[in-house]
Structure formats: structure tokens, C-alpha cells
């Protein structure tokens, strides 16, 4: 197992480098804004008669970085604060730190994305196996076509279609927000029921827009595994159908993890659409609103956290893959 810590270290280093690059990118991006908001706020405060230092501190509080001084000192100051997880203040809701603003949204988004991933993974994998085993028949082709179609349907189209069907034409589900405000929060029946009912449509939107790619990947990987020698060998050694099925399924799952890692960025990206369509208060909506209101520190914080979430998810997917595939865990060349 000596290789695992090595692999983990590699991941962490890459993750830190990536976050640093993204942070630098947004730092300079905000600098390029038409009418640099940070400087604008500084001048505005000075005009209102605040002393330059006072104005600098106030702006620094709001944006989290020094409005004056050389770009380099601002940059280093910004990074220093970043290390302390201090991403500045949100200008939209005064006094609330940007990071807390985002974190409140984060748990909703992650909850939704998780539900979406699990649902789409399950539906996609099962249908993929069926499409593979019955590939010469009609059901096989039908599943493949639906798979590739749903895979190509954008998330917000799926969201809007679900909304029109389930809230307008046949109003079964509540339309917006994540929970019914009237119900008092707490660990009680109605609160959870309203939570779930509000979450079903968005999670369904996720699942329906993602299961297609899992279906297609699972189908092609099952077909390729069925062609492997060990499947025929298992049959010739008289292994029972159940054991053979488990052999095939486990080997077929591997490519799914690589796809899984690829689609995570896609999923978090999609969060913006689905949350906006359902008006579900997650990170995505926070990002959109922060851009709408020119609240750059929150935008910066949200973007960083979304990227961090994607990176963490990728690391998890890779570790899961290593856990399943011994070839990666215990590499090494064959003996004489």
C-alpha cells in the first residue's frame, strides 16, 4: 500500500496549485473590470470625507484586498488572507463575510448534486447493462438512442420541461425555493417532507440530464468486458451465473469512474442552471446573483469554492478507482 500516500500527496499538490491559479486568475480578472470596483469604492468613501486610511481599511474590509499600493503588494496581501480562508465581505448583504454567504448555499448545492449523481449513476449503470446484454434486440437500440438523446439534453432545458410539466400543466410539486417558509425548520416530519418535495424536481433534472452518459459508457464497457477472455473462462470453469455477473459488473464499472471524474465539473456547472430555474438557493444562484449585483468578492469566493468542490470530488473518484482496481494499487511488473 506504499503507493497510496504517494498518490494522495500528488493529488493535494495538484489541488493546491490549481486553486492558487484560479485565485490568481480571478484576482486579475476583477482588476480588469470596467471601472475597477475596488478603486471606485475607495474614491467614493474618500469623497464622503473619510480619511484615506479609513477608506482603505473600509474597502479592504469589503473586498478583502487592499485598494491601493502596488499590484504585487495587493496580490500578496490577497493570497495571505486567502490562506486564512478570509475571502472578504459581501457588498450585497453588508457585514456578512463572502465565504459564509457561499457556504450557506454550498450545502444545498452539494446535497442536490450528490442526489443527482447517485440517481443518474444508478439509472445509467442498470440501463447500460440491459442495453449491453440485449444489444442486438430492439430494446438495446431504443435504450442507446434514449441514452444518447438524454445525454445531449442541456440541464436547464430539462429543468424547464420538468417545471412546465409538473408545476404548470399538472401541478404536483412546489415551484420555487428549497423549503416551504411557513413550516418551522427542525428535525420534524412536515419540514423534511417539504424539503424532499422541493428537492425532487431539481434532483430529477440532474439525474435525467446526466444518466445518459453513464448509460452509454456502461453499455460500451460491458460489451468490451464481455469480449474479455476471463468471462469465457469463468463460463468454462462452471462458475454460477451470479458469480459471473458480479465479475462482469465489477470490471465494467471501472470506466464509469473515469467518466464520473470528467462529469463532476459539468454537474457543478449545471447547478447554476437548475438552481436558477427552480430558484433553489444553492452556490449556483449565489454566483449568478453576485455577478448581477457586481458583488465581486462573493463571486470570487463562490467560484473558488465550486472549483475546490470539483477538485475534491475528482480526488475522491480517483481514490475510489484505486481502491477497486488492484493494478493501480499494486502495480509492478510480472516476475520471470
Amino acid at each position: 500500500m506504499r503507493k497510496l500516500p504517494l498518490r494522495l500527496a500528488g493529488h493535494l499538490v495538484r489541488a493546491l496549485v490549481m486553486i492558487w491559479v484560479v485565485a490568481t486568475f480571478t484576482f486579475f480578472l476583477i482588476r480588469q473590470m470596467p471601472g475597477d470596483p475596488v478603486a471606485a469604492q475607495y474614491e467614493q468613501l474618500v469623497q464622503q470625507g473619510m480619511s484615506p486610511d479609513g477608506a482603505r481599511n473600509a474597502t479592504q474590509l469589503t473586498y478583502g484586498f487592499m485598494p491601493t499600493g502596488s499590484t504585487w503588494s495587493q496580490y500578496t496581501h490577497y493570497l495571505w488572507r486567502l490562506l486564512h480562508f478570509d475571502l472578504g465581505r459581501s457588498t450585497q448583504t453588508l457585514g456578512v463575510s463572502a465565504s459564509s454567504e457561499v457556504l450557506t448555499g454550498a450545502k444545498w448545492t452539494i446535497g442536490l448534486v450528490l442526489a443527482g449523481i447517485l440517481l443518474s449513476f444508478a439509472i445509467g449503470a442498470v440501463l447500460g447493462v440491459i442495453a449491453a446484454t440485449r444489444r442486438s434486440s430492439g430494446t438495446g437500440d431504443a435504450l442507446t438512442i434514449t441514452g444518447s438523446l438524454f445525454h445531449a439534453i442541456p440541464q436547464f432545458v430539462m429543468a424547464l420541461v420538468l417545471i412546465t410539466v409538473f408545476t404548470v400543466i399538472w401541478p404536483v410539486f412546489p415551484t420555487d425555493g428549497n423549503v416551504d417558509i411557513l413550516v418551522d425548520p427542525g428535525f420534524n416530519g412536515p419540514y423534511i417532507a417539504s424539503l424532499v418535495s422541493h428537492a425532487t424536481l431539481p434532483a430529477l433534472a440532474y439525474a435525467l440530464s446526466m444518466f445518459g452518459s453513464y448509460l452509454l459508457t456502461m453499455k460500451s464497457s460491458v460489451i468490451s468486458v464481455l469480449g474479455d477472455d476471463f468471462v469465457l473462462a469463468a463460463e468454462l470453469r462452471g462458475l454460477t451465473r451470479g458469480i459471473r455477473f458480479r465479475y462482469i459488473a465489477r470490471n465494467a464499472l471501472l470506466p464509469l469512474f473515469t467518466i464520473f471524474a470528467l462529469t463532476i465539473g459539468f454537474m457543478f456547472g449545471g447547478a447554476v442552471f437548475i438552481e436558477k430555474a427552480f430558484n433553489y438557493p444553492g452556490m449556483g444562484v449565489t454566483l449568478v446573483n453576485s455577478i448581477g449585483h457586481r458583488d465581486y468578492s462573493t463571486m470570487n469566493a463562490t467560484f473558488l469554492l465550486i472549483t475546490a468542490a470539483v477538485i475534491v470530488a475528482n480526488i475522491l473518484a480517483d481514490l475510489l478507482y484505486t481502491a477497486i482496481d488492484p493494478r493501480v494499487r499494486r502495480g509492478g511488473t510480472a516476475g520471470a
Binding site: 503507493k3 502495480g331 509492478g332 511488473t333 516476475g335 520471470a336
Partner: protein, 345 residues
Amino acid sequence: MTDPDSSGAAIEARGIVKSFRARGDVLAGHTVHALRGVDFSIPAGGAASFIGESGCGKTTLGRILAGLESFDSGSLSLGGVPLAELSPRKRSPHFRRVQMIHQDPYSALNPTRTVDAILRDPLALRARQTGRPRAWIDARAREVLDLVGLDPGYVLPRFPHQLSGGMRQRVVIARALTVDPAALVADEAVSMIDVSLRLGILNLLRELRSTLGVSVLFITHDVATARYIGADGELYVIYRGQIIEHGPTETVVADPVHPYTQCLLSAIPVLHGIEQPGADRLTPTEPLDESQPEDGCLFAARCPFATEKCRAERPELGHLGDTVQEHACFYPQRRSVVATPVAGS
């Protein structure tokens, strides 16, 4: 010995050393000595065969002679021109005259191009170099296909997947001929071809030697094929990167003196009924294992006759015991290991 600057070109190699840093974590940090100072020479239009177990370095040597692999030290000259000192750009025109025939005909041809396109590009290059008109390209394409016994009309418009394994290997040889090579390095060139067709390819290689004066280097683990193709040439037996026996093919096959060569020849299946097995057939005491000791004779760990001296010193290639062929063994001993035909079969 024909003079070096005839259309063919003699190949001279002295003290070729090549080692790889193994990447697998089992051998991490451990270098694999592929070649440990190999001397080799072949006259223009000559024949040489290399035999040995897989992983003994024979393919690496073939790739070095064809210029597809660099080597750490030693000298290599083609038609009298020393290549080690030349810059890669200057070296490549020379190495172009040594063409490699790969083992797998299915991966040696680009599946998306017709045979015509495959032959046309190298011929266009050749036409530019030798100042020949464009019309020569089509004519030469048909010529090389005739040379390898294929019907140009049938083969030219087809894609590789429309040809059989044997026909594909012939197209590979035809492609090699487009650059008028001095030497062909055939690495296990027939092991993936059906038994009844193998001889056709081997005969083709023999004919090319006589008609075009091309020298043929045959790399294989199948001794009988090596003997058939290089009957009037030299046979080199390689073990863990070192040549341990070398001499005229007939002598080494009929009268081997190094225990490893004897093990190789003993392992050849005997066609009972029309052949009787050699009296003292040998088998190595251990399977081949990379981690076997490096000091002393490389074969000591597996040699049935190894002594303390064998484990301590490494014998050099020489004629100890006034043998016709060179060998690297302190105790060369004639043994009848090869199956001989039963009278009257």
C-alpha cells in the same frame, strides 16, 4: 568478402552497450542491461540469425542496427561509414538503408490507407532523392510488388484489412524495398503467419538476398527457421545481452558447445517417427529470472554444469578448446542435443 561499397553494404558493430532504467516499481532504480558489449558483422548480401529467449536483447540489437534505438556506447558502421559520430540528421539517410520488418503484419500497415498510398509516399521521396520522374513511382510500385510475389493489380487498390496475414507481410517487405535497402532486419517476421505460408516468406527473403544483394538479419526464438534462412550465414546466440556463441550456422546448430545453446536446441520438439531425439538433451535447472546474479557467467544460475569458477568469473567470447565457432564458456563440451532424421524417412 565483397568490397564494402557495392550496392549492398557491410554492417560492422563493435562493443554495443545498451541499458534501460526500468520504470516498474518492482525494479525501481534497477537498470536492465539489454546489451553488454556486442560485436557483430555481416558482409553485403550476407545472412545472419539471432536466437535467444525473449528479453535477451536480440530485438533491441535489431532496432539499434535499424537506427530505431540509440545505444550507450560502442561503434556501428554501415558500408564503411562510422555512424556513431554523425549527428542524427546526417545519420538518418544511412539508417534508411537498414529497414525493419516487424512481427505483427496487422499493426505494420496503416489501416486507413490503400497499398498504393502506402508505397507511393516513400517512392516519391526516393524519386526526389534520385532525380527520377514521377512516372517512375507507379512503375517502381508495381516492380516491388512483383518482387515480393504479389499481383499489383489485385493489391494496389486494396486496404490492409482486405489482405491476408501473409500478403500483408509481403506488402511490408515491398514497402521496405522502396528505399533500395542494403539490409533487412526481420524481427520474428513469420511467427504470426500460418505454418504452411511461413516458408513462402522465408524463401522470399532468401531470393531477395540473391537477386538484390540485400543482406538479411533474422531475429527469432525458433532455431529451425533461423537455420533455414541463414544456412550459409552466421548464427549468433544471445543470452541476457551477451553473445555466448557465434559461428557459421550449420556448425553452431549441428555442433553446439555452450550449454545454453545446447539447452535451446534440446527444447526444439522432436518429430518422433521421422526424427530421433539427441542422446544428451539438456534442460536449464531454473527458469529465466532477471534478478539472477550478474557476476560470473550469466548462465551460471541455470547451467547444469556450473562450477565455482563459472559463478566467480565471466568467460569472454573466444575459441577455448579450439572450436570452430566463438563461445563464452570455460568448459565447452560437444553434446548431441539436436534431433536427427531417422534413416529412410
